[in-house]
């Protein structure tokens, strides 16, 4: 018998992504690649005013065009489609997928065309004539809170979606009682208080693949298949089933290749409901593909949270108390998770520090803008930004090294699990270790000397440092209205190959690779023998989805549990064949054999074949090798890290250049460091984008001024220095993998460290804080102001 090749262990290896060859070669299948016989095409007519009453809609010319199947106004859609649901418990105004009588942001749909192709549909949408009684628009969140110049939803006075929710020290869990004494005492004994208004600006998520939907209702079967570019097909299925009146057993949702989501494809959108409802209404397959101009107005935006931050401390740097008043500009409507995103900012206000007393309050405000929802980091980058900017300002005020101020206030390793003032239980952490590694990698002291030398030459060079802790792997079920678990089914096929499903529907996270690495090790078979199936509720029986950096931590754990169940059963079949005890068997190198005598083993494939034709059937066993698991984590995970930036600002022009980006991230155990680094690269890119070049801008009339990539800057390779990455490993106890999640980490530490570097570079001009993005003109004005002795932006 030939000796089987030795298979290396793959978990922890830098295995290349198996997804990439097909994607790089253009062989992926995205929603827009799907074509069905008889399929018609939808185009939405969208409002070009930000706020107005619809006076009239004339669809007659559109209906008369050759190739137009149907045209629906909002009122006509409302006859067969109910208002859109949201996924949070907060009060919300009625939101129709297509506006019925009032439009509240530029880009809101007002009518729908169904036609033989996209081009006809687009021309027909142009032929629809809509007249509006224009109402005043409000785009400034603090102005909106005064109720002037307009109230967007009559049932929400002063445009307050959420008037005020308190959280933190002295606030009861349900928010009903608030005791300010601890917070007041902390500030009363403070020797120094930092107070700063900070805007965490609005961003456009801008996935490379815009959204798209194909809905296929089959009248004979009273069932629906819906393809959508979504992060969570199972959640989509639930909502489509509810709104179409079909049961969940009659709806199959498929997320094929998804070209990026960044949180904006968690929400279930009006276009998904409308496409499904029209397919059911007309009994034909229909497709809608978002174009890039639409994506800027119709896909949810991120961030847009204002923070009034007060930090109390002793002069030796001991932090005593923190207050953050948060005001979130959520745009015109509540979407699926809109209202909940800023609550994550509150939740993470404790950051990485021992802070004896914290009070946060949250107000959410409607404005005439595109609604906000999750965007990479979703509430946690905002928390990190507010706290870390305040810590940086405190260090500057006390003339302390920013690293030493952090070190003085860290939650210590011995304090974990750590119950924060905000009600979170941090699972594990060693913040000082991450800080020290980042300082070592950056050569912090040498870097400071380089900065000082550059300054002596008149150059404007600055350093910034930021810690972060985020909440990932969200669970248990009490934490999510959808349920906080994840599901997997592992099947050993009759030929010995393995197929495994995951409900964590990846869209760039590389789970086809990492999950195959895990199963390869678990079963001792080559990774090439394993296929990971996802993104299809007809194949993947249950699932929640991929968001909040949860696919590996929660989905990976479910996969391992399901694998373990199957392995146990397979061992029983192998034990019968080998006449051995199942506990004495090892799975390695494609063989199942008795420990210590590999030559006596049976091939993995032969045991699989036996399990499906079990003659004789071992007593107590059913045929077959397939089992499933639901994994419910006991808690969230709390990854953390330290990011260090070095920046130079052109004294003449204000142009900032990022010279160094040093990141140490601790995501617990790493399944595949190459993929982890890729995730961090992407996160850093978007964090640097927010700090330096990305900003959604509206004019006073509510018209989007950054409606294309000509005006909205997407970060590119030329915008970055080389990323200098490293990791510490502090496993989490809340899942069997010890993995914490890493998809969003890069967006957290980078932004405050970059702004700190900019402030440091311009500190000679008296500036203490600069709001993002770091527009050259903004920096130039600080330099001009300083040079003229007028002080800079505070």
């Amino acid at each position: 018998m030939a000796v089987a090749p030795v298979l290396p262990k793959l978990v922890g290896q830098r295995t290349k992504r198996r997804e990439d060859p097909r994607l790089i070669r253009g062989r992926g299948t995205y929603v827009d690649d799907i074509a069905l016989i008889g399929m018609q095409h939808i185009v939405f007519k969208r409002s070009d005013v930000a706020h107005g009453r619809i006076r009239s809609i004339d669809t007659s010319a559109a209906k008369a065009m050759d190739g137009v199947e149907a045209v629906f106004t909002g009122a006509e859609i409302a006859e067969f489609l109910g208002p859109m649901p949201i996924g949070t418990p907060f009060p919300s105004p009625e939101h129709r997928a297509v506006a019925v009588d009032t439009v509240r942001f530029a880009g809101e749909p007002v009518a729908v065309v169904v036609a033989a192709d996209r081009y006809i549909a687009r021309d027909a949408a142009d032929a629809i004539v809509v007249t509006y009684d224009t109402l005043p628009a409000v785009v400034d969140l603090e102005l909106a809170m005064t109720g002037k110049p307009t109230v967007i939803h009559p049932a929400f006075p002063n445009n307050l979606a959420i008037a005020l929710v308190p959280s933190g020290t002295g606030v009861s869990a349900d928010g009903s009682t608030v005791d300010d004494s601890a917070v007041d005492a902390a500030f009363a004994k403070a020797e120094v208080v930092i107070s700063q208004r900070m805007m965490n600006q609005r961003l456009a998520p801008s996935a490379m693949e815009p959204r798209g939907v194909v809905a296929h209702f089959e009248p004979g079967k009273e069932s629906m298949t819906i393809w959508s570019s979504t992060q969570n097909p199972h959640i989509l299925r639930s909502f489509i089933a509810a709104l179409t009146g079909l049961g969940q057993d009659r709806v199959r949702a498929i997320a094929p290749e998804v070209g990026g989501g960044f949180g904006a494809k968690i929400n279930i959108y009006g276009e998904e409901y409308v496409t499904a409802a029209i397919s059911k209404r007309l009994g034909i397959p229909v497709k809608w593909t978002e174009d890039r101009s639409e994506a800027f107005v119709a896909t949810t935006h991120g961030r847009d949270i204002l923070g009034y931050v007060d930090l109390a401390a002793k002069r030796d740097g001991t932090v005593l108390g923190l207050k953050i008043r948060l005001i979130a500009d959520i745009g015109a409507y509540n979407m699926l998770l809109t209202a909940a995103i800023p609550t994550l900012t509150m939740m993470m206000a404790n950051a990485t520090y021992n802070i004896p007393a914290i009070r946060t309050t949250l107000t959410e405000v409607f404005t005439n803008k595109t609604p906000t929802d999750a965007y990479r980091g979703a509430g946690r980058p905002e928390a990190t930004y507010f706290v870390e900017r305040a810590m940086d300002m405190l260090a500057r005020e006390l003339k302390m090294d920013p690293a030493e101020l952090r070190r003085k206030n860290f939650i210590k390793p011995s304090q974990f699990p750590f119950a924060t003032q905000m009600g979170a239980i941090y699972d594990s952490g060693d913040y000082e270790k991450a800080l020290d590694l980042a300082l070592k990698n950056a050569k912090w002291d040498q870097l400071k000397a380089e900065r000082d030398a550059a300054r002596a030459q008149g150059r404007l060079v600055g350093l910034g440092l930021s810690m972060y802790v985020e909440v990932c792997g969200i669970g248990p079920s009490a934490a999510l209205p959808t349920g906080g678990w994840e599901h997997s089914q592992v099947t050993i096929e009759r030929d010995g190959r393995i197929s495994a499903t995951t409900g964590a529907s990846p869209h760039g996270q590389g789970n086809e690779t990492t999950f195959a690495q895990m199963l390869a090790d678990q079963f001792g078979v080559p990774m090439d023998d394993i296929t990971i199936l996802h993104g299809d509720t007809g194949v993947v029986k249950q699932g929640i989805g991929t968001f909040g950096s949860r696919s590996q931590a929660v989905g990976g754990a479910a996969l391992q549990m399901a694998g373990a169940k199957v392995k146990t059963k397979m061992a029983k079949f192998a034990a019968a064949l080998l006449e051995a005890h199942e506990d004495d068997l090892v799975f390695e190198n494609g063989m199942i054999s008795v420990k210590g005598s590999p030559a006596s083993g049976k091939s993995f494939a032969s045991v699989a074949a036996y399990a499906y034709v079990p003659v004789p059937l071992p007593p107590g066993l059913e045929p077959g090798l397939s089992d499933e698991a639901f994994f419910e984590p006991s808690n969230n995970t709390y990854p953390f890290g330290c990011h260090i930036s070095m920046m130079e600002i052109d004294r003449q022009t204000g142009e900032p250049t990022l010279l160094r980006m040093v990141a140490v991230d601790d995501a617990g155990n790493l399944i595949n460091p190459l993929i982890v680094e890729g995730q961090i690269h992407g996160g850093l890119a978007q964090g640097i984008g927010q700090a330096m070049i990305e900003e959604v801008v509206y004019n006073e009339d509510g018209q989007l001024m950054t409606g294309s990539f000509m005006d909205y800057a997407i970060p590119r390779a030329i915008d970055f220095p080389r990323f200098e990455l490293d990791a510490t490993v502090t496993p989490t106890p809340v899942n069997p993998l010890g993995a914490k999640g890493v998809g969003e980490a890069g967006t957290l530490g980078s932004t405050p460290s970059i702004v700190a570097a900019a402030v440091d570079a311009l500190s000679g001009f008296g500036v203490k804080h600069i709001d993002m993005m770091l527009r050259p003109e903004k920096l130039w004005r600080i330099i001009q102001g300083g040079q003229q002795g007028q002080g800079g932006q505070s």
Binding site: Y119, D123, D719, E777
Partner: protein, 285 residues
Amino acid sequence: MISTPFEYSRATSLDDALAKLGATKGEGKFIAGGHSLVPLMKLRLSEPKILIDIARIPGLSGIREKDGKIEIGAGTVHHDVASSALLQRACPALSDCASEIGDPQVRNRGTLGGSLAHADPAADYPAMMLALDAEIQVKGPAASRVVKASDFFQGLFTVNLAADEIITGIQFTPVKSAGYAKLHQRASHFAIVGIGAALNVKNGVIQSARAGLTGASSHATRLTEVEKALEGKPATSASVEAAARGAGAALEDINSDIHGSAEYRRAMIPVFTERALKQALARIG
């Protein structure tokens, strides 16, 4: 992002292109790289009924030296200008200018003639055409003519080109001591302010200078006050700094948008004028 319907045809020669354009009775447009026209069509800001593709007309692209002058065909893509060994030797500032246009996709599709004809107020080439005193070769149904760059850029998206004419190329006397400096708009990589500058230096004295400005105003324009201030001055940093100081001060229509206020643009004109001139100084050899 879907244009209105249009017909498409490919021209086989310049005469064929002009004949095809004439036959559209004003409803046609030439297309080469499409990097100015197609975005406008996708936004339905331009709705031509007929597109005449001039990208494959033989001889319309290429860079050559002829009688001491350099000729560049209108169909030459930016990447070819950026990477031309001839230009890098004889007139490196023009290669630099091309290398700073947009991004690699734009540079591999967009053409010189298209950029000049479109005349985006923030396009890079027009500033360099002014600095090089380039002549723009234009062909119409009846005759060909040559237009000096300083007479070509007339207003916002407005150039000295009749509706029935086509740009066939440019020609200019190469200047080694020239420079192009630009403040990038980080989204589009158009110029917030861009300055092309060229110096004619003999025995250490600036005989004449030319400077062109883009991005700051409705159309590319010469900075004549800078040119005059440099004439007869020694080719030194001090001369350049003094001349740049007042650059653009007399300009009245300064652009203002989310990427830069008029005040900021005005302040950046001297900065980038000085930088372009210093590049030119560094190349006196």
